[in-house]
């Protein structure tokens, strides 16, 4: 699946609808709960699972090859900058918890506002350089790589 929704936990807030890249999480108009309208277009990407504030969305492996009885749960904590996983095997023999960082900075704080940085010079515009270059490419004094700087030229014997 494909994702599915625990009805008693869902309050129909629509966070999953907002985030689903495949446009398949919708709100049932009668029940006012989220549901997956097209399981065969679900990638099990877990975007909705991570976004649900009530942990009401879960995934059951695809019916064509995955037996029942397993679970892979996740809690993504933006404030702590971590993601925590718990994987339980069908036979109960393996129960793993894994933790990983998701960012090293407070959200959005380190992305530059390019409307406010000094405007590029005409020389920069005429060059092949991009923002923050060449300093972000290499630490020596070398500029951008070109065919000439790297001792290259178009090889003879082009074939049509």
């Amino acid at each position: 699946m494909p994702t599915f929704v625990y009805m008693t936990r869902c309050d129909g807030c629509g966070e999953c609808v907002d985030i689903c890249p495949s446009d398949i999480m919708h709100i049932d108009k009668t029940l006012r709960r989220a549901y997956n309208i097209e399981p065969n277009m679900c990638w099990e990407c877990y975007s909705c699972v991570k976004a649900c504030p009530h942990h009401a969305i879960d995934v059951r492996g695809y019916a064509d090859f995955a037996p029942l009885g397993h679970s892979v749960r996740v809690i993504r904590d933006e404030e702590k900058g971590t993601i925590a996983w718990r994987i339980k095997f069908r036979n109960g023999k393996k129960d793993m918890e894994l933790l990983a960082p998701i960012t090293t900075k407070p959200w959005g704080s380190a992305t530059p506002d390019l409307a406010k940085v000094p405007a590029p010079s005409k020389e920069m515009r005429d060059s092949q350089l991009l923002f923050n270059e060449p300093k972000y490419i290499r630490m020596d004094d070398g500029g951008l790589h070109t065919l000439q700087s790297n001792g290259l030229e178009i090889k003879k014997g082009v074939q049509y």
């Binding site: 919708h26 990638w43 995955a66 993601i83 393996k94 960012t103 992305t111 390019l114 490419i137």
Partner: protein, 630 residues
Amino acid sequence: MSYQTIIEDDIDILVVGAGLGGTGAAFEARYWGQDKKIVIAEKANIMRSGAVAQGLYAINCYMGTRFGENNPEDHVRYARIDLMGMVREDLLFDMARHVDSAVHNFEEWGLPIMRNEKKGSFLREGRWQIMIHGESYKPIVAEAAKKSADKVFNRICVTHLLMDESKENRVAGAVGFNVRTGNYHVFKSKTVICGAGGASNIFKPRSVGEGAGRVWYAPWSSGSAYGLMIQAGAKMTQMENRIVLARFKDGYGPVGAYFLHLKTYTQNAYGEEYESKWFPELQKMVGKEYLDPEVSHRTHRPIPTCLRNHAIISEVNAGRGPIHMVTMEAFQDPHLEEIGWHNFLGMTVGQAVLWAATDVDPKYENPELTTSEPYVMGSHATGCGAWVSGPEDVSPPEYFWGYNRMTTVEGLFGAGDAAGGTPHAFSSGSFTEGRLAAKAACKYIDDGKAAGIRVSDAQINRRKEEIYKPLETYSVYKNEVVAGSVNPNFINPRQGLDRLQKLMDEYCGGFGVNYMTNDKLLNIGLKKMFILGQDLEKVAASDIHELLRAWELKHRFLTSESVFQHTLFRKETRWPGYYYRGDAMKLDDENWHVLTVSRRDPKTGEYTMEKAPLYHLVGDVEKAPPESHH
């Protein structure tokens, strides 16, 4: 029709599709165009959209120039041999010389990149990949794009590009509809940077039923990069170069970190090494220049990925499948075991779900591998896409028409899956291509090339009618049947997709025919495609969501038609393991050491095919790489 028309006018740079290519474009455009109006139109939500939506555990393209690891020409050699010679070396060199700056920006924005504690460099898995904790890779780059854009329109399915009516072959914006409100959106823009996605789901997937969404590349990658550009009459290249992936069976979990970092290897069902025994025969088919295992062992020249697929396919056909990944040794190390699991959780959770569901613990059991159905894309290890201009200081004349990454349609630029001939860009390279396109688009505007653009109301209204036609078709004929999906007057998008996939699989070399086709099959397939095209005029949508699927299907159809035409044109088997032409089973450098270029006439729908020169910018000699690569 009750839907409103919403017009966004005076846009300088319209970014269509904000995956890694589009986010790179929006970000960089603000630096070169501080006074310009930058607008993003994205089918999903930019915070989780594109191929990297669920995360990525590695950045697959990073030179490490600052650590003395690689130079751009090294990457050109690598990608060239992997693609059996068929790449645009100017574009590859250009992407590779800029890509490190993208990665260093990512790190500064908060992306956790693993480090090699001893050397201070980024932790590598193999020569080109570095390892990251990339669950939030997409949200992090999306923040940068959002900050740069004037407006972000989420949930807009862009269906067509607008064309200028005062000058032929010049772009003027795009149109589409909002998949939530149903409203019709018109974006009038001086330039368009197409960062839309490549194509999953055009070939019948191995998964069936409920699992049909379990494909390797995101199911929402609907070939729109190609659908949009082909419709506008842009020239395309290398559309025959579809890719088949060797992956963990069913879950399609990635194998890169397993091979390269965990040092796992494959064997057949009986525990034997199988790969090398297929190479002597294969060498006769492709020539020593492309397959020489001895040279590969001595240097870092890799054996092309497609040829390794060929060995898997041949071994399975010989009755010694399945192929297994030997994980039992590496997973005895608890650290490597943890990396193995994190690798899935960070980018293909479905594989972890599968192993938990089937009680496959790779520590005690070697999991199965398989080859996937084919995909058409331009950012991973294959180079389908638009024929675009290269940079002025690198490109030969045939590859250069003034503005970097501009297609053959004026003002229309491509990045990521949209730019052809630049395989092995992956996420960082796609972002870089977006940046390059954005700088060039700003220059194009500043040079006055976008002056006097005119779009008539007639064009806008014509597209509106066309876009909503599937809803109209549904409402006219829905009472022909009661509560069913079988109707004599229309097909729904799913039915159309099933037909397309079956057709592509059987006639264009899908997994169902062992990736084999020939001129007869291709011609029959094209005839059937023509009729499917007529039926797609009658595709019906019962609601806005189905309308989205209908337009995705139309983009997939255009992509597929192009793949058929290109495959028919290239009369050789250039990439055994990706597909075979049974009527031309050898690689033929004498006639086909060229790039293929097509154009579909937007007025008649007819294809013109041509050969384009293949220039080699860097020599073959590969220096032994420094120790740090091992």
